[in-house]
Symmetry: C2
Subunit: 413 residues, 2 copies
């Protein structure tokens, strides 16, 4: 029987342990690392536990290390040590893989280790397993995904309850649906970590997450939510990867989607991934993005996969770095809300700026701003070049009529 | 290299051959059976072909038989012969499996053969692979599915174009989206074949498709489509399986779903399957239900799975028959349209009949019927027992005021 070590007996770790027991999964949990293992005697039963990491890592009899800690420092140490010895690793840690995946996967391909990382991306959605087996060998032309449950939850509640970003965020924190430090989620960085890994698998070369144009939801105001409603759209924090002529374009940002869009109904903390596959065509996966059992379920799926010695598609690969194309080539219509002073000539100045960038205006809407004497000028453009549009937005910052950073979202039609 | 035989070089068969070549899948296509193989020399290249089935079946060197013929007689002969010899089979034939799966799977578990049948259910949606690997060992509490593309296509177009069933059906036939003999699709039987197989996998015992309460879409009138619109619902031909206390309840019938339902946007020829899994939670898969490459893609996924000797979860099982519960226990609200003569006292008689069955009425709507002096009386009930409701519907048939069979649909809220 294969020997398994579990690192971290928190929410997910205890869920994994419970499933292994309930379902009699044919592995032996040989050891558990947890800093407060002494308080978890009930959970552990007769499983050996330790808070001495080195002691566990030095063991040569572990076949599979299940790493479920936070941060990246200890996880990297655990993963490197295991892979160095040719042992297998399962991790739910997307930050670890986004930052060190290149090194870890290439090390694994040399030592014959395998890395299971289903739980690191989109919770319970079996996207890695399906990419590696069902869509094996098929080109993926496009991927679109809602990859972060916290931000989707915040956007959904802002729309439904017409409450501000900060109000809903602090409520989400109270409910345990957002971290005390929400940076990784609301900045889009957590979703970008996942998108970088998915994009690497699709592009067949390693994409550094730092190269992905990333914008979060911190600047989304209730005004934007209400404008979207008025226009018949909804706001989603969306990862998009396009493959064309072996070139990859990838971006993570808030967008507006119309009712016909297949992600329209993906609300609250759900995640979703849509693919356009060479032969299978359009495929959509929707499921829970986080939580004890949804995440543990993906860890268990990896465990089964690692118990099958024949399955090692991604593990065998030697990775090389790929460089995504500039996202400036992604054309679309754009929504932009520009906080301006309320005086004659402002619209004329902005319209001229857009015209100078070859952008034509489809509609203009004005409503009271957040401060006295200020208004929000909302413009929807016709389809234009993204690069031109972003140049224009940067130009707006220098106009004295513009009082705050404009907020812009592509319209995905 | 494993040797493969392909039976039937039609739409799907030629797609499979093309993918095997394009992707250099490590198998040798040793022979093809096709009745008009002589007209397909370009497609075949140097592959040996025959129209003599016995010759091909007698070969002992074939590892995997890919059966892509119509009907069930020849396919059964091919599958039995192959499995008898311990060879593997891939089939896209849901009628074959619904009718003879019990025999074939049990035979395979004795001879060590494996049967790949991903392509038989919901086209490109990788539901079998995910049930067998990702959700391995997890109980599935509910399954809901749009399992037939033709009927979903017809219902979508009836709604969008406000045209009658027969008009859209004949157009779908012209476009190749419905068969010349549409019986299997429109009666719901094709979807029930698939639902029986899925339900067997979930219930872990073989469910005979003849035991599934099945109603098709033939009696859905434009009036029902328009009533659904007025009520804010859409009509779907839905398969539903519920597992509770190791008992399975299963039904295939047209239903009404509200906008919040995750199948609201699954339109045209798309298929969808939603699961409630023990640990993974709610999962939704959407994809193309048919077509050359979507179906061929699932055949290829089976091919990869069969090339991995370790993967044989469903194949090892010895099946026993299971008996589903009576669906009369499935409570819901109901929509019913009753064609009646337009005279006083009719509503009173119907209301009394429903009251006698302990069914209370939420709303009544009346509009002109298809014939002179006739009206359509549309009633929506409060939640009630399904068995009571169906008794009441049967009772209506005996009222002289009722001129034609009532059409009823559960409301899935």
């Amino acid at each position: 029987m294969k020997k398994v070590a579990i690192y971290g007996l928190g929410t997910v770790g205890s869920g994994v342990l419970q499933i292994i027991r309930e379902k009699n999964i044919p592995v032996e949990v040989a050891a558990v690392f947890d800093r407060s293992y002494q308080k978890k005697a009930d959970l552990l039963g007769n499983i050996e536990a330790t808070d001495d990491l080195a002691k566990l890592i030095d063991r040569n009899d572990i076949d599979i290390h299940i790493e479920l800690l936070g941060g990246t420092e200890l996880p990297l140490y655990i993963a490197r040590s295991a892979i160095d010895k040719g042992q297998n690793v399962i991790t739910a840690n997307k930050a670890l893989l986004a930052e060190h995946g290149y090194t870890l996967f290439n090390l694994a391909s040399r030592t014959g280790s395998r890395i299971g990382f289903e739980a690191s991306i989109a919770g319970a959605i079996p996207i890695i397993r399906n990419l590696e087996s069902v869509f094996q060998g098929q080109q993926i032309y496009t991927l679109e995904g809602i990859l972060n449950g916290t931000t989707n939850y915040i956007l959904t509640r802002m729309r439904r309850e017409k409450k501000s970003y900060s109000e809903i965020l602090s409520d989400a924190q109270k409910l345990g649906l957002a971290e005390a430090d929400p940076y990784l989620d609301v900045s889009g960085m957590d979703a970008t970590h996942k998108l970088a890994i998915l994009t690497s698998l699709i592009a067949d070369s390693w994409i550094d997450f730092r190269r992905i144009h990333t914008r979060g939801i911190e600047s989304i105001d209730l005004a934007d939510i209400e404008n979207a409603e008025r226009m018949g759209y909804r706001i989603r924090l969306l990862g998009r990867t396009l493959m064309a002529n072996e070139k990859v374009t990838v971006v993570l940002e808030p967008v507006m989607i119309p009712p016909e869009h297949y992600l329209w109904d993906v609300e609250m903390e759900n995640n979703a991934i849509a693919l356009d596959a060479q032969y299978a065509g359009r495929q959509l996966f929707v499921g829970k993005g986080a939580g004890r059992f949804p995440t543990a379920s993906s860890v268990i799926s990896d465990l089964y996969a690692l118990l099958d010695e024949n399955r090692a598609i991604f593990a065998e690969k030697v990775w090389e770095y790929g460089v995504p194309e500039d996202s400036g080539s992604m054309n679309s219509r754009f929504y932009i809300r520009i906080p301006v002073v309320d005086r004659p000539g402002v619209l004329a100045a902005l319209a001229q700026l857009l015209a100078n960038h070859d952008i034509s205006i489809a509609s203009v809407h004005q409503e009271p701003g957040n401060q006295k004497n200020n208004v929000n000028l909302t413009i929807v453009t016709h389809e234009c070049k993204r690069a031109n549009f972003i140049d224009a937005v940067n130009g707006m910052r220098h106009l004295e009529e513009v009082t705050d950073a404009p907020v812009y979202l592509p319209l995905i039609d």
